[in-house]
C-alpha cells in the first residue's frame, strides 16, 4: 500500500506543480478571482429579484416592475462576467511579466471587443430580420464569449509584452511629465496589438464563420462544454479533486484551473435561460460542483463526517477534532478534518473518501435530470455559504435544493459510518492502553 501511494504521489505532485505554476493557468485563476466579487454581487440580486412567493403576494405589474428595477444589477455583472475575467487575465499576466498591468488588462479587453460581433439580428416580424448596428450582444460578453475571451486575453497580453520588449516606443524628451511619456510609451505596443486583432477579425469575416467568436464557439467551446456538462467528465473531475486531496494537495484549486472556464460557461448559459424564462439547459455547472459536491462541509462533504464524529465518537482524539472542525466545517472549510482525522494518506478512509462523492454526484445528477430538484439557475453562491442555504439559493430559491443537500449528507454519513466506527475504535483502544500504561507506571 505504501509503495503504491508513493508511486501515485510521484505522478500527482508534478501535475499539481505544472498546473499551478503554469503562468497561463495562474493568470486564468486570478482572472476569475477578479471577476468573483462582481459575479457574487450580481448573484445576490438575482436571488432577491426572484424571491420565492413574491409573485403571488404582489400584483403581476408590481412584480414585473420590481424585477426590472433590480435587473441591471446582474445584467451588468454576472451576465457579462467574461469582461471582468478578460480584464483580470490581461492584468495578471502583464503583471507577471513585470509590465504595466493596467494597460495589459485594457488591451486584452479592447482586443476581445474587436473580435466580438457588433451587430444583432432584430426580428421585426415573422419573416423580416433587420440587422441592427452600434450594439454588442451581451450574450457574447458572458457565456458565449468565455473561451474566446480567455484566449484573446492570453494572446493580447503576450503580444503587448512582445511589442513593449521590441521597444518601438516613442521616446519623449527629458522634462516631459512621467505620466505623459508613459501614456505615449504604451501607444505603439497597444496599436500593434489591436491592429493584429483587427486583421484577424477582417480575415474571419471572409470565412463561413463570419466572426472569430463563432469560430471558437463552434470549434472549441461547444464541444468542450458539451463534454464538460456530461456525467463522465464530471465524475473524472470529482474523482481527481478527491485524489489530489487524499495526498494533501488542494484538489479544487488544481482541478478548477482547468474546469472553471467550462463550468462558468455552462453556468451563464443557465443564467441566460433563467432570465429569459426559458428551460435551463445544463445540470452540471459551476454551482453543481460548488454547492452539491464540495459545498457540504468542503471537499469530500466532510460535514457528514463531523456529524458522524458527534454521533459515534468515543475516542478523545475524534471528539476534539469534531469540536475543532465543526465551526469551520459549517462554512465549508475542512482542512482541520482533512489533516486532522487524518484523511491524507490514510488507507482506511480512501474508500469512503472516493466513493461518497461519486455516489452524491449520481444522486444529484439524476434527481435533477428526473425533475425532482430544479437545475442550478446560474447564480454564483459564495463557496463559504453553509449547506442547505446554499442549495436553496443555487437552485433559484427552491427548497428542493436544500433538501437534496440534506439527503446527500445522510448518504455520505452512511457510507462513512463503518469506517469512522473502525477508526474511532482504534483511537479509543490506543488511548485506553496508553492510559493503562500510565496508571501502571504510577502504581509502581
Amino acid at each position: 500500500m505504501n509503495r503504491f501511494m508513493e508511486v501515485l504521489e510521484n505522478i500527482l505532485m508534478p501535475i499539481a506543480d505544472k498546473l499551478n505554476n503554469n503562468r497561463y493557468l495562474t493568470a486564468l485563476r486570478n482572472g476569475f478571482m477578479v471577476a468573483l466579487p462582481f459575479i457574487i454581487f450580481g448573484s445576490i440580486f438575482v436571488v432577491i429579484a426572484n424571491f420565492p412567493f413574491l409573485d403571488k403576494w404582489i400584483s403581476e405589474d408590481a412584480y414585473a416592475a420590481y424585477q426590472a428595477a433590480l435587473g441591471p444589477a446582474s445584467a451588468s455583472t454576472l451576465s457579462i462576467m467574461g469582461l471582468f475575467v478578460i480584464l483580470g487575465i490581461g492584468y495578471k499576466l502583464t503583471e507577471h511579466y513585470g509590465g504595466e498591468a493596467i494597460y495589459g488588462g485594457a488591451v486584452a479587453l479592447a482586443s476581445f471587443l474587436i473580435l466580438t460581433p457588433q451587430v444583432i439580428d432584430f426580428v421585426t416580424s415573422a419573416d423580416v430580420t433587420e440587422e441592427v448596428g452600434g450594439v454588442i450582444p451581451t450574450a457574447s460578453l458572458g457565456a458565449e464569449g468565455m473561451f474566446l475571451g480567455i484566449f484573446t486575453a492570453f494572446i493580447a497580453a503576450e503580444l503587448y509584452r512582445f511589442f513593449v520588449q521590441k521597444d518601438w516606443t516613442i521616446k519623449m524628451p527629458a522634462g516631459v511629465p512621467d505620466a505623459v511619456s508613459r501614456s505615449f510609451s504604451a501607444l505603439i505596443p497597444i496599436t500593434m496589438t489591436l491592429s493584429t486583432f483587427l486583421v484577424v477579425r477582417i480575415i474571419f469575416s471572409y470565412t463561413p464563420f463570419g466572426t472569430v467568436q463563432d469560430f471558437i464557439y463552434t470549434l472549441i467551446q461547444e464541444p468542450l462544454t458539451a463534454l464538460g456538462s456530461g456525467l463522465p467528465a464530471t465524475l473524472v473531475a470529482v474523482l481527481l479533486i478527491q485524489l489530489f486531496w487524499f495526498f494533501g494537495l488542494h484538489g479544487q484549486i488544481i482541478v478548477n484551473s482547468v474546469f472553471d472556464p467550462i463550468w462558468y460557461a455552462l453556468n451563464n448559459q443557465n443564467l441566460e435561460a433563467f432570465n429569459a424564462g426559458q428551460e435551463l439547459p445544463n445540470i452540471v455547472t459551476k454551482q453543481f460542483i460548488d454547492t452539491f459536491i464540495v459545498g457540504i462541509g468542503g471537499s469530500g462533504m466532510t460535514l457528514a463526517v463531523i456529524i458522524g464524529i458527534f454521533l459515534i465518537g468515543r475516542s478523545r482524539q475524534l471528539k476534539e477534532l469534531g469540536k475543532l472542525g465543526a465551526p469551520a466545517g459549517i462554512f465549508n472549510v475542512n482542512e482541520p478534518i482533512i489533516f486532522g482525522l487524518p484523511i491524507i494518506m490514510n488507507p482506511l478512509v480512501i474508500i469512503p473518501w472516493l466513493i461518497a462523492p461519486v455516489v452524491v454526484t449520481f444522486i444529484t445528477y439524476f434527481t435533477m435530470a428526473g425533475g425532482l430538484v430544479p437545475y442550478p439557475n446560474g447564480v454564483i453562491v459564495p463557496w463559504t455559504t453553509p449547506a442547505v442555504l446554499s442549495g436553496f439559493l443555487a437552485t433559484g430559491n427552491a427548497w428542493q435544493g436544500g433538501v437534496l443537500q440534506l439527503v446527500n449528507i445522510a448518504v455520505v454519513f452512511v457510507i462513512w459510518w463503518p469506517f469512522l466506527k473502525i477508526m474511532d475504535k482504534q483511537y479509543y483502544e490506543n488511548e485506553q492502553s496508553a492510559e493503562n500504561e500510565r496508571n501502571e507506571s504510577t502504581n509502581m
Binding site: 486570478n30 494537495l249 484549486i253 475543532l324 482541520p336 489533516f339 487524518p342 491524507i344
Partner: protein, 102 residues
Amino acid sequence: MKHILLACSAGMSTSLLVSKMKEAAEAKGIDAEIWAVAQDKAPKEMERADVLLIGPQMRFMKKKFSKTAEEVGIPLDVIDPMAYGRVDGEAVLNKALELIGE
C-alpha cells in the same frame, strides 16, 4: 517584532491557525505580527515578512515561492500536516521562530 506570514489557497484555513498562533505568542510573551493571505497575494506580502509558512495542501507552490523568498531574503517552509490538522498554534509558532533563527 516578528512578522510571520502564512499562505494557503484562500487564506481561510490558515487564518484559523493564525488565531491559535497569536494565542500561543501572547502566552509566551513574544511580540509577533502573524497574518494569513491567499496564495496569489503571498509574493507581495513577503516583502514585509520575516518568514513564510505554506499550508500543506499548497505545498506544490513552494518552488514558486522560493524564488521570491530568495529575492526578499526570508526563509520559508511547508507547515507540518499533523500540526496543521490539529491547528497546533504553538508547534507552528515554534517552527516559524526556528526558521527566523531565534
